[in-house]
Amino acid sequence: MATLSIENAGKSFGDTDVLKDISLSMDDGEFLVLLGASGCGKSTLLNMIAGLEKVSHGTIRVDGEVVNDVHPKDRDMAMVFQSYALYPNMSVEKNIAFGLEMRGVGRAERKAAVEEVARLLQIEHLLDRKPAQLSGGQRQRVAMGRALVRRPKIFLFDEPLSNLDAQLRVEMRTEIKRLHQTLKATMVYVTHDQIEAMTLADRIAVLKDGRIQQIGTPSEIYNTPANVYVAGFVGSPAMNFFEVTLERDGDQIGVMLPAKLKGVDTPYFLPLPAGGQYHSHIGQPVVLGLRPEMISQATTAAPEDPVITCDVDVVEPTGADTLCVIRLAGRGAKARVSPAFACEPGDSMEFALDMSRACVFDAETGMRLYG
């Protein structure tokens, strides 16, 4: 059980700054996910927390104590690696017990601890095997067992599920979530999979090029992304972005959005609820962000949502929903409709736009404006 805080931490390899000015703090028992594209520095940050990489500047504190120069083994953290990193020459039992052995725990006590963890992870029947004799999923469990058995203050996970097939990944995700609820331990989890991040996290930190873009709960990240990058990275299918200009129409402030109907661009004025806050930006170019589910069939929409009519180019059924590709502001946009209302490609259809949840970003900086 521990709190973790990172203050202005940075990391350079020679001349390249891999991490810049990272600050975050975690409460006891929190599940934080570091989310970002490949190469953005997630593993490096995790290794710095674990003490496997030196911190170039800034401080890392555990329970308020600076641990910058504390040896990894004295930080009382356990890590699950992407490649599982099991010791190939040791049996599963030895693998799990190794950390305890190194800490001078007695044989009987070790055995009891290993058995308890094995029961928890349902790998009791595998204890005598070597890692080479295990399936990917089983190795994954052993790697988790090796971390669990030490009851560390902080758990670190580096993309632990990325080597598993899709079905097993979903299963193990649930299992990790259950473990967190049982242990109530502080956990940092690295992934590039936004669904994993959304389902597991108490809070998500989105990284890009070594900088934290936003830290927040999954719903904050999803509903009020700090910038275009976060908005585009989280959510599947991705948010639709339109380059538009803020305009005034009577006492309403909104944007003009051309929709393609029968091959012709037809402009619609879309008023922004609480548009008053954009007062000083009138006439400026902005980026309007609408998630696919904010563009839906007009039939079941709220009465105050503006309605547009446009051609449907492509229809992609996904089962629960059907995605319609339409053309707004000169580019393809995805709308999510209920299969019951989906039309044929080439037909035109009425869509309601949920402008109350729309995001408006500065066209130049990409940062979100207000709200």
């Binding site: 496997l52 690696f81 190794f98 190194m102 800490r103």
Partner: protein
């Protein structure tokens, strides 16, 4: 498979040719090896049962040459030397090579240069190694005279002319030559070890020594085995190093079985005796290679 009619006879010839091409290409070298390696092994084995002296004779005499061989002090010395040489050569080369590899694995600067320096001795012929070490170890030219020149008059390092120590001089030169090669072998294996395993062991609280001894080196077992087999057969066929370094001397104190075989067969007109010693060497090699090949092949089939 149904074949289209017409020109089919032509095609079958080509088909056959392409099917047998690999065999055709390999056949000459296969025949040459069959004749010059295995043929002569059999011939040597046969000769060892005859009373051949200056020229081969083909009248079988039973195990007479072997009884003569085992009664000779010279053969005893050569075979004991092989045991001493083999044991020290293999263990020291493995130990030093492995240690160098682990040290180089610490991502030190100038690693490339050091690696080349250590590996170079392997590129030198045994004759050159032997000659260079002969000069260095010669009491009146090399290390001993140099240190005496520095003022330490009582210094002695005359193993090369000492009957009991001469074989250790051969060990020193041979280890110098081979450990760089062993190092290269181990270094490349160390580099392929998953770094996450090392990180995991660090977090588990293992010391660097413990990580190497307890986790990394055990996982390099196949490399140990290959290095052992290579060094073992190198030591059994060692010949030129002794010739260049000690000439087998003093007396015959530092001869190895290969030197013995050469001496008997080509210089003393004892072809039968030489053949018997050659067969003994072959059996020694086989005692090492057969279990190794067996375990390799069995491992393959199980994998």
């Amino acid at each position: 498979m149904p074949q289209p009619k017409g020109g089919s006879s032509h095609r079958t010839v080509l088909d056959k040719l392409s099917r047998f091409l690999p065999q055709l290409v390999v056949a000459p070298s296969f025949l040459l090896i069959l004749f010059f390696v295995y043929g002569f092994i059999i011939w040597t084995g046969y000769i060892s049962f005859t009373d051949s002296r200056m020229l081969p004779a083909y009248e079988v005499q039973g195990f007479r040459q072997y009884f003569r061989l085992f009664a000779m002090d010279r053969w005893d010395v050569a075979f004991d030397n092989l045991l001493v040489f083999g044991a020290f050569y293999i263990t020291l080369s493995l130990a030093i090579g492995c240690l160098l590899a682990v040290l180089l694995d610490q991502r030190i600067r100038a690693e490339g240069a050091l690696r080349t320096i250590y590996l170079y001795p392997m590129a030198i012929s045994f004759i050159v190694t032997g000659t260079a070490w002969k000069w260095m170890l010669n009491p009146s030219l090399g290390i001993e005279s140099y240190i005496r020149g520095l003022g330490w008059e009582s210094f002695r390092f005359d193993w090369i002319v000492d009957k009991d120590m001469a074989i250790y001089v051969v060990v020193i030169a041979a280890v110098w030559q081979a450990s760089g090669f062993v190092m290269a072998l181990f270094l490349s294996a160390l580099r392929s070890v998953d770094q996450e395993i090392v990180k995991a062991a660090y977090l588990d609280g293992a010391s660097t020594t413990r990580i190497y001894l307890g986790i990394i080196l055990p996982s390099l077992r196949p490399v140990f085995l290959s290095a052992f087999v290579i060094l073992a057969h190198l030591s059994i066929k060692s010949f030129d190093l002794v010739v260049a370094l000690t000439g087998g001397g003093p007396g015959y104190a530092s001869t190895l079985p290969a030197n013995f075989m050469y001496e008997m067969t080509f210089r003393r007109n004892q072809i039968g005796l030489g053949a018997a010693s050659a067969v003994m060497m072959l059996l020694t090699v086989a005692a090492i290679m057969v279990p190794y090949l067996y375990s390799e092949l069995r491992g393959k089939r199980h994998a």
